[in-house]
Symmetry: C2
Subunit: 466 residues, 2 copies
Amino acid sequence: MNAQPLRLSTAQPDFEARFAQRLHWSSETDHAIEQRVADILADVQKRGDAAVLAYTARFDGLQAASVSELELTQADFKAAFDALPVAQREALQAATARVRRYHEAQKKANGESWSYRDEDGTLLGQKVTPLDRVGIYVPGGKAAYPSSLIMNAVPAHVAGVPEIVMVVPTPVRGSVATGGVEGGNGAATATRGERNELVLAAAYVAGVTRAFTIGGAQAVAALAYGTATVPKVDKITGPGNAYVASAKKRVFGTVGIDMIAGPSEILVLADGSTPADWVAMDLFSQAEHDELAQSILLCPDAAYIDAVQAAIDRLLPTMPRAAIIAKSLNDRGALILTRDMDEACAISNRIAPEHLEVSSAEPHRWEPLLKHAGAIFLGAYTSESLGDYCAGPNHVLPTSGTARFSSPLGVYDFQKRSSLIEVSERGAQTLGTVAAELAYGEGLQAHARAAELRLPTIPPMRGTPR
Amino acid sequence: MNAQPLRLSTAQPDFEARFAQRLHWSSETDHAIEQRVADILADVQKRGDAAVLAYTARFDGLQAASVSELELTQADFKAAFDALPVAQREALQAATARVRRYHEAQKKANGESWSYRDEDGTLLGQKVTPLDRVGIYVPGGKAAYPSSLIMNAVPAHVAGVPEIVMVVPTPVRGSVATGGVEGGNGAATATRGERNELVLAAAYVAGVTRAFTIGGAQAVAALAYGTATVPKVDKITGPGNAYVASAKKRVFGTVGIDMIAGPSEILVLADGSTPADWVAMDLFSQAEHDELAQSILLCPDAAYIDAVQAAIDRLLPTMPRAAIIAKSLNDRGALILTRDMDEACAISNRIAPEHLEVSSAEPHRWEPLLKHAGAIFLGAYTSESLGDYCAGPNHVLPTSGTARFSSPLGVYDFQKRSSLIEVSERGAQTLGTVAAELAYGEGLQAHARAAELRLPTIPPMRGTPR
């Protein structure tokens, strides 16, 4: 097996075109999926529990007489946690504690209510409050990551959301699983769905309130509209396949949603000071997610790029997921020689990568130049994987260049703000005159009069000046 | 003319059903509009300026040889400002200054970068940066509000966005205007598009960088994809008709967008201590926007509700927009008798109104009970219209119950965050062990190895435990 990321140099005359081609990724929407999802949503909205049961039987092969039979209990969570090896239990707890600490700092820095008073006593401010109830989608099958549950549940918890409802499909082996779950292949023999014990243990550690073993578009619908058994939530977060993504887009507006993620990406800016093995493994760690994942190295040192390629060649055969890694690097990876680190930073800003490693002996020299990225990993010791699991910051990050305008999942995603305005009697005089002038200018006389009625002397009403 | 909002009492046995019926509003999407918008977007993406010119000629009746002919200049803005009466100039400036002050406080309270270091030297934090370039859509025709431009431009400015691009259609009278502009009726005689001078003056005061007299889906497309003349932006905000809303939804992901607003709403909680005329006028000020606007009063005092109805009867004939007000109040308004103020607060939380007036002698008694609202106006002197124009907080607010999970437009909408992580050599030891344990548990060995390679002694690689 061979993994050869595309070699490019910014000095090549056709660099821009070739680089653009490598970056290209299209998020085509499959109309057949969209239509099936629309039908499932409408059915769950209409028939509630009965529809959820029918789709769960059909797609996950999981039979139940009622949706409450599909509810997991806190005892299930605890049993899963207790059954884990000590090292895994401690790792889950340590990661959760660090993620919590970071998000508590985030709330304190950016998520508290505030107000001030004008000289005339008028109060202005903003009240920050948690959402009442959120739903977290956890995929079944190959992408069932307990770390993802922690990254979604902890910020909700820290925000003060009183009720966190998890849905996680547990398809029976051999089930159809076209309704939106990734798992479910193999012989059709099991009598109950396959649970991921690490996910259940993470639910225990992260503090999930309720959980249902349902998935796909039917689970998103149940959370968005509510059924007799599944409570209606205010926002749905968490990753899922094309069915889940399409369902989330469709219920947006009825509930809030988080971002719809594209393939994961890493960009490494290297000045050649980090051991090449480390950087090669960082590129692997992105590539092993998915054949569509993208790993790019930008470096002004050609010899170092050679060393990284040599490390790739040497390390690849040792990796259990070598086939996925090779496909991802061959199809979407790139090793790019830049004129200098400044140019590497400028290119990084154009890409606005999800993960950005500044693998340099002087990371703080380059950090101020980096404007757009989901997460910035500074220095040789900061591998992306430390951030993925336990450094503290969230691993749910904007992909596909959306870091130009969006942010990591955070406490702020589980809060909302209400403006507070209390105008004093004196304040109503100053503000009333200004508001009335502008309202008349816009031809909105009731707006003007509502302000003028509060003045000590009410002026006559003006006609429409426009 | 008569305006009789529906009278309800929470004590009626059929209250829930009748109230639900009155609240009902459906945001049906028109498939014909969606298809036309998809075609316009694709065409602008492909043909750029040529397509923009063609649609502007077709829908706005505005002929130009190049898109640069449609660009407004800073001199245009200044001329419009200078030509205004002094009172309007001063009102625009006073409103802008207050809105700016509020949003500066918001940025300071909730929008600054932060970081901390662990005991082992590991740095964790978040860098908050402005977007590079944003587009503001300003409708032409009847909904051309300079206040709306101020409310969109000022938070972008305060966030530090270096480039604010405005688009505003200036349809020639008699043009088709089906491409997404509200204006354009009357006889077809004018040779140039109709400009709203107050909007241009507001662009001067609020600090717009560039502006083009284009509108509809074609303007949204030009901002989202960029053309030879119109620069590509990172986010598009601002209100528009069904074409604009559909176009914004469709380009979401390529660029950020703000909320898609439903009809405007006000909910007044009254304890009977505010003059009934004031409350009646506040209900009017919502109703005059639009026949679909919704004005609701919740009050535990039946005699006060009668007094408000009497004020409505007396004041309605004096209002220039009486027809719209009457239609809105008759079709969608409600005066609801509650058992007490506590019940009124509970109902308000279920509605999660866009505008919430607490017209009470004790507003601070009730405010803590109010969980969901776009903006909360406290006390008799705080008419919604003061907030709409100049109190300081933003008037772009979540509608249709979305205040359960979303927030007023703010500085945060024009910033994005990047996580910062710098793990120290010692930190990599602690974190590496935890990350590797979890990564192996998830079957992601490259993640585990990226962490383990940074340990002082590299352990042997484990197989896949699952």
